[in-house]
């Protein structure tokens, strides 16, 4: 049983690799069909942000446990320009309906836990978790 996968994100083709790997690992952990799609979609979005704004980065996906609960941890990190105003980026209006903006509020809705740490000039790390129901 695989426990952790690291996917370097360098170009848009890696977006598909990342979401398919995430889907596979989630399937192994026993997530349901629609949860798999939700997870794959969230990974696709954060991977896309890396490509669009930081050019390169990495996505790390691993199965985690909390007591009896099984879940998936996804960490998307990059050394890109960073987000100046994280609070603003997380506001619902500032979202991705037309492919502009970071789409973070939407991704947050898809996941059970969502944290973002970003520093201008240093980079961004998005940490999110989805637990099996």
């Amino acid at each position: 049983m695989t426990e952790e996968i690291r996917i370097p994100i360098r170009s848009e083709t890696d977006i598909v690799v990342a979401r398919q790997s995430g889907r596979a690992l989630a399937a192994e952990a026993g997530f349901t069909g629609s949860e798999l799609t939700v997870i794959a979609t969230a990974i696709s979005e954060v991977a896309r942000n890396i490509v669009n704004y930081a050019q390169t980065g990495e996505i790390c996906i691993q199965q985690v446990k909390s007591g009896k609960q099984i879940g998936l941890l996804i960490v998307a990190s990059d050394r890109g320009p960073g987000i100046a105003d994280v609070a603003l980026a997380l506001q619902d209006g500032y979202s991705t309906s037309n492919g502009l903006g970071l789409g973070l509020p939407g991704v947050k809705r898809l996941m059970d836990e969502f944290e973002i740490v970003s520093e201008v000039g240093v980079g961004t790390t998005v940490t999110m978790r989805k637990w099996k129901r």
Binding site: E12, R19, T41, T96, N98, G99, G103, V107
Partner: protein
């Protein structure tokens, strides 16, 4: 993976298989653009029954494709968005406003036929009125 585009009478059918990279979508867009023009297609059905994920880029591209087709006189319908995908899209806040959607390819073609007939009827009427 390249998306095959078939011609069925005055319609074009694009069948998406599995996963689409951004490049695939861009290629699909230009191919449809070219073919709508070349065949003077009146309608396009993009069948996404086997599409695994619809993210922000895919949504934007499909909307752009529909707009492009409309400018060239063709109506677009997206067929076969799966329950899981629809659910995830809505959670993410993605919508396909301004683009027709339907359950599957069969429905899509039926829809285009209906719209075409309605369009012809209107055109017929307006001709009469202008006389």
């Amino acid at each position: 993976m390249k998306v095959p585009v078939l011609k069925l009478g005055k319609y074009l059918i694009a069948s998406v298989q599995g996963s689409l990279t951004d490049a695939d979508l861009v290629e699909l867009s230009s191919e449809l653009s070219e073919k709508v023009g070349r065949y003077r297609a009146r309608g396009v059905v993009i069948d996404v029954t086997t599409l695994d994920v619809m993210d922000s880029f895919a949504t934007r591209m499909l909307r752009d494709i529909a707009q492009m087709a409309r400018l060239r006189g063709a109506e677009t319908v997206i067929a076969g968005i799966q329950p899981d995908v629809a659910f995830a899209m809505v959670q993410l806040g993605l919508g396909l406003e301004g683009v027709s959607t339907c359950l599957d390819l069969e429905e899509g073609l039926a829809y285009l036929e209906k719209r075409l007939k309605a369009g012809n009827r209107d055109r017929g009427n307006s001709d009469t009125h202008s006389l």
